[in-house]
């Protein structure tokens, strides 16, 4: 039977949450398409492949010293070896940093169409129809592939994580990994800083809507202080140097789950939302009624933040 193949992602011996979400996705999509779910796992040995087998019935493992660390060349070659040796209909990859780095390479090697950053799949007439965010989350679109096989990458959280429990079979697949053109030297932490906003009960975050660093400091910090909380930021605020990197919330920043998260002049891009959607109560203040942040907030005010925030200060 044709397979829907998850490519497992791991770092320092730990499987990513995204991989468990893909195992759930593979089972759902495979059953709708009359296929079977499987996974591929690459590493220096089969220890992680055995871990993956708790979540999916069939795991193909490529074990090679050259696969000890992730590289796009290594992963693309290993994936190709598995795909060539099996009847693979579709490949599922996480829209993570590693996933983005090699998914399109796998699609090219297969000659298949790729639909990236998906959040949903419907199977219509036997073929998958993918739903994905566009225009910074303001518009969604549906896409299909024209090729017989497909590659799709999925946003974090698109599917629930599969629970462990099974005892799948691990099958070795041989591949010759050669000509790896990038060499990993080390992994370093770049967000070291004295502040740890992840413990705060209240976080007031400002975004690009604050316009400049002085306004960010004048508007966001006093409100955070008055509420007895911490102040945070979206990525552009940190990129522009208005505050320190340790205060960035999102996929490439901190994950926070305070009781109250106020997003002020923040549009609600998926990469920001990834870091704060678990907050108990989300408040959004934005002049654009269509800003995607309003789709996840409990309360919203559609107005100029420079008019609203002083009023909040006055009433606190």
């Amino acid at each position: 039977m044709a397979k829907i193949l998850v490519i497992a992602e791991h770092r320092d011996g730990k499987l990513s949450d995204g991989t468990l979400e893909l195992c759930k996705a593979a089972k759902t999509i495979a059953s709708a398409m009359g296929c079977e779910p499987a996974a591929a796992c690459f590493g220096k040995d089969d220890s992680i492949a055995k871990e993956v087998a708790k979540y999916i019935p069939t795991v193909f493992c490529v074990a090679d010293a050259a696969l000890e660390k992730y590289t796009s060349d290594g992963y693309a070659q290993a994936a190709k070896a598995v795909i060539d040796s099996q009847d693979v209909k579709g490949v599922l990859i996480a829209q993570s940093y590693d996933g983005v780095d090699f998914a399109a390479k796998v699609a090219m090697a297969m000659g298949a169409g790729i639909v990236s950053n998906c959040n949903k799949v419907a199977v219509e007439g036997g073929a998958p129809v993918f739903t994905r965010n566009t225009y910074n989350g303001k518009i969604q679109e549906q896409k299909k592939v024209k090729t017989d096989k497909f590659v799709a990458t999925f946003e974090k959280g698109a599917y629930e994580m599969e629970a462990a429990g099974g005892a799948g079979a691990v099958t070795a697949v041989s591949a010759s990994i050669s000509n790896v053109r990038t060499k990993v030297k080390e992994v370093i932490a770049t967000m070291a800083g004295a502040v740890d906003i992840s413990q705060a009960k209240i976080i007031v975050s400002g975004g690009r809507g604050l316009k400049d660093g002085d306004k960010y400091k004048d508007v966001i910090i006093p409100l955070a202080k008055k509420l007895g909380g911490e102040y945070g930021a979206s990525r552009p605020v940190v990129d522009s140097g208005w505050t320190e990197a340790a205060r960035q919330v999102g996929q490439s920043g901190k994950t926070v789950t305070p009781d109250l998260y106020m997003a002020i002049g923040i549009s609600g891009a998926i990469q920001h939302v990834a870091g704060m959607k678990g907050s108990k109560c989300i408040v959004a203040i934005n002049k654009d009624p269509e800003a995607p942040i309003f789709n996840i907030a409990a309360y919203g005010i559609v107005a100029d933040l420079f008019e609203v925030v002083p009023q909040l200060m006055e009433n606190l």
Binding site: Y97, V100, M108, K138, I139, Q140, V187, S252, G253, D288
Partner: protein, 256 residues
């Protein structure tokens, strides 16, 4: 160094979007600008040129309106450019665009480095750079947040989740997708804007480049997201709304 920057013109995401027949956005309502991530790529290229000499070439696939933003990159300091202005490419997917970029870059010849943004703000695909690397037969690195080059040897930092960076070594020629925050993009100066008007911008069609326009994916439809968790919008003038919000946070959500 000969550096190509792939630049896409995109709508300003603060625009009030209207969808026509579930197929396209109403462009008459929208202002266009350089894709934010590509702006960082242009700046990275200009800094490399300032250090090592050479030229910065902009390659962009887009309709007539895109010329404005290619010239914006000229005004920042890029030397010349190629605009792939072809309705068939416009209707194509990332694969079609990647093939056109590949052929244009091969046509330039002797390119040491190709820079893209990490993703286009409009299609949010984050695939074009990797496809292009594959088509050019070059190594690549995505989400580059730091870049050191000496001769053909490069040390690049690739951003990872949660504030980590992977430090990699690779050699040119290569394709790098540049992440925001790597530098501070400059603003064009007045003399820069004057010079930009005279810089060379070649127009090409897919057929001139010998690129196919056959997509591997197909667009079905577009629509506004429907959320079952849409926020309760608090109405009224700023003073009234602010008062009501604080009341709700205190007495309803009980979080302050």
């Amino acid at each position: 160094m000969k550096i190509v920057v792939c630049l896409k013109q995109v709508p300003d995401m603060e625009s009030n979007f209207k969808i026509i027949d579930g197929k396209s956005i109403d462009e008459s309502q929208v202002a266009f600008k350089i894709n934010d991530f590509d702006n960082y790529a242009v700046e990275a290229a200009l800094q490399l040129k300032e250090k090592n000499g050479g030229e910065v070439i902009i390659v962009s696939a887009g309709p007539d309106r895109a010329a404005k933003d290619i010239r914006q990159a000229f005004a920042m300091g890029a030397d010349w450019g190629i605009q792939i202005n072809d309705p068939a490419v416009q209707a194509g997917d990332n694969f079609v665009v990647a093939q056109c970029l590949q052929k244009a870059i091969q046509g330039i010849g002797g390119v040491d480095l190709v820079l893209t943004g990490v993703q286009a703000e409009d299609d949010q695909a984050a695939v074009t750079g990797v496809m292009l690397a594959e088509l050019l037969g070059m190594p690549h690195c995505t989400n580059v947040v730091k870049l050191d080059i000496s001769g053909a040897n490069m040390t690049v930092n690739r951003e990872l989740e949660g504030g980590l960076n992977e430090v990699l070594e690779m050699s040119a020629p290569a394709v790098l997708s540049i992440q925001s925050g790597i530098n501070e993009p400059r603003y064009p100066t007045l003399p820069g804007i004057m010079k930009a008007k005279k810089k060379q911008l070649d127009a090409k069609k897919a057929s001139d480049l010998g690129a196919s326009t056959d997509s591997k994916t197909e667009f079905v439809k577009m629509f506004f997201p429907v959320s079952d968790k849409k926020a309760e919008i608090i109405k009224g003038d700023p003073a009234t709304a602010a008062k009501a919000l604080i009341d709700k946070l205190k007495n309803e959500a009980k979080v302050i």
